[in-house]
C-alpha cells in the first residue's frame, strides 16, 4: 500500500486531483510503476535508493526487510501529495461561467491593460455607437471607487462594479457573483473591464470568449516584451490613442512584431477612442465575434 498516493487498499486516506491524470509520477524522488492488479504482487526489484521523507511510511507487502532510518512514530503527521494546479479552482468556475454564457448566447470579452490605456473610454464610445445594434452589459473591475461603472451607465449600458480592494485582478468567482447582480439579457455582449494590470489578470480565466489587450501609444513599444503572458493569452490587441502618434516615440511595427513572435495569431487594430479613428474596424471585429455567438451586429 502506497501511503503517498493512497492507491491500494480502499478506505485509506487518498486525495486525487480530478484534473490530473493519475499516472503516478510522484513528485518526490520516488518513482515506481503502479500497474498492479488487485492482489498487488510486487515482484520487481526495489532498490530503495530514493530518499525517504520522515513522514512517509511506505509499506510494501513484499518481504525485504528494509528499515527506514527515520522514526515512524512522530505523532499523526502525514504527508499528502496533492500535485494540484493552484489555478484549477478558478478554471473550474470559469468553465461554469462559460457554460452560462453559451446558454444565454452572451458574447463575453475580457478587456485587460495597464492603468490609463483608455479601456473605459473605448467602452463608452462603443456603447454610444452600438447601443441600437445590440444590448451591452459591463462588469467593471477596479481596486476602489464606482467611477468607471458610473461612466458606463451614463453612456447607456447597465454596469456593475467590482472593487477588489487589495486584489489586483478579477477572478472567475467575482464574475459569477457580478452576474447574479447584473441580470443579463440573452443575446447580448458582456464586456469585462479588468483591473488595470498587465501581470495577474493574464493568469485568471474568467470564462470569456475572447481576451482583448489594450495598449496606448504613450506606453512604449516594448510592452509585449515586458509582459509576455498577457500578449500570449490575448486574441486581439487594440493600440489606442493613435492621435498622439506624431508626438511620441512609439514604433507600431516593432510592437506588432514583438507580440506576434510569441503569439502569431494575435490580431491588431489601431484606434483612437478620442477621435474615432479605427473604431469602425473594432466594431467590425466585434460584429464578427457576435456572429459566432449571437448574430452579426447591424453596424
Amino acid at each position: 500500500m502506497c501511503e503517498t498516493c493512497g492507491c491500494g487498499k480502499p478506505g485509506e486516506f487518498t486525495i486525487h486531483d480530478p484534473n490530473q491524470a493519475h499516472d503516478h509520477e510522484h513528485s518526490s524522488d520516488h518513482k515506481h510503476d503502479h500497474e498492479h492488479s488487485n492482489d498487488h504482487v510486487h515482484d520487481h526489484d526495489h532498490p530503495h535508493d530514493h530518499e525517504h521523507d520522515p513522514w512517509h511510511s511506505h509499506e510494501h507487502d513484499h518481504d525485504h526487510g528494509h528499515s527506514h532510518g527515520s522514526s515512524h512514530d512522530q505523532s499523526q503527521k502525514r504527508l499528502i501529495d496533492l500535485n494540484l494546479d493552484i489555478l484549477s479552482e478558478n478554471n473550474r468556475l470559469a468553465q461554469l461561467n462559460r457554460r452560462f454564457f453559451e446558454g444565454r448566447k452572451v458574447l463575453c470579452l475580457n478587456l485587460v491593460s495597464s492603468p490609463g490605456s483608455g479601456k473605459t473610454t473605448i467602452l463608452e464610445k462603443t456603447i454610444i455607437a452600438l447601443k441600437h445594434s445590440c444590448k451591452m452589459f459591463v462588469i467593471e473591475g477596479d481596486q476602489q471607487t464606482q467611477l468607471d461603472a458610473k461612466r458606463i451607465e451614463k453612456a447607456g449600458s447597465r454596469a456593475v462594479q467590482i472593487n477588489t480592494g487589495s486584489g489586483c485582478h478579477l477572478d472567475a468567482r467575482m464574475i459569477e457573483s457580478a452576474l447574479k447582480k447584473l441580470d443579463i439579457d440573452s443575446s447580448s455582449i458582456l464586456f469585462v473591464e479588468n483591473v488595470g494590470n498587465l501581470v495577474c489578470p493574464a493568469m485568471f480565466d474568467l470564462g470569456e470568449h475572447k481576451r482583448v489587450v489594450v495598449i496606448s501609444v504613450t506606453e512604449g513599444d516594448d510592452k509585449p516584451l515586458k509582459y509576455p503572458n498577457m500578449f500570449m493569452t490575448s486574441h486581439l490587441c487594440l493600440i489606442n490613442k493613435s492621435d498622439l502618434l506624431p508626438w511620441v516615440d512609439f514604433n507600431t511595427e516593432e510592437t506588432i512584431k514583438h507580440a506576434r513572435s510569441m503569439n502569431p495569431g494575435l490580431e491588431f487594430i489601431i484606434v483612437s477612442a478620442k477621435t474615432g479613428e479605427g473604431m469602425n474596424l473594432w466594431f467590425e471585429w466585434l460584429s464578427k465575434q457576435a456572429e459566432s455567438v449571437i448574430s452579426p451586429l447591424k453596424l
Binding site: S27, K77, L84, N90, N229, S261
Partner: protein, 108 residues
C-alpha cells in the same frame, strides 16, 4: 495568488480532517508568470492569519527550459523570448518551468 493557495490548502486540510498544517510545498516555475520571491513574501504575510500560521513554507523553484523550433535543442530559458543558443533560431518553445502547483502538505 497567495489567497488561492491558502484557500486550496484549507480545502485539502478539511478533506483530510487535519487539525493543522505543518508544512506546505509549492512549485513555482521560472516561466510560470509568478515571481517566486514576491509570492513567497505575500504568502508569508497572509499565512499568519490562516490555517498556514504554523506551517513551514517551502517554495520549490523549477528552472525554465525551452526547445528550439528549428533544431529541437533543449536549453535553459530565463525568459520566454529566447533565441536558440545552438542555431540562433527564433522563436523557441517553452518546454518546462511553467508550473504553479501545490505539491504537498504535511498535516497533523
Amino acid at each position: 495568488m497567495a489567497v488561492e493557495v491558502i484557500n486550496l490548502a484549507e480545502r485539502e486540510a478539511d478533506r483530510a480532517m487535519a487539525k493543522t498544517i505543518r508544512e506546505i510545498t509549492i512549485e513555482v516555475g521560472d516561466l510560470s508568470g509568478i515571481e517566486a520571491d514576491s509570492f513567497e513574501s505575500a504568502l508569508g504575510l497572509l499565512a499568519k492569519d490562516s490555517i498556514l500560521a504554523n506551517a513551514l513554507i517551502n517554495i520549490k523553484k523549477t528552472p525554465g527550459t525551452g526547445r528550439c523550433n528549428s533544431c529541437n535543442y533543449e536549453f535553459n530559458m530565463s525568459q520566454r523570448m529566447a533565441t536558440c543558443p545552438k542555431c540562433q533560431a527564433f522563436p523557441s518553445e517553452v518546454s518546462g518551468g511553467q508550473e504553479f502547483i501545490l505539491m504537498s502538505l504535511v498535516i497533523e
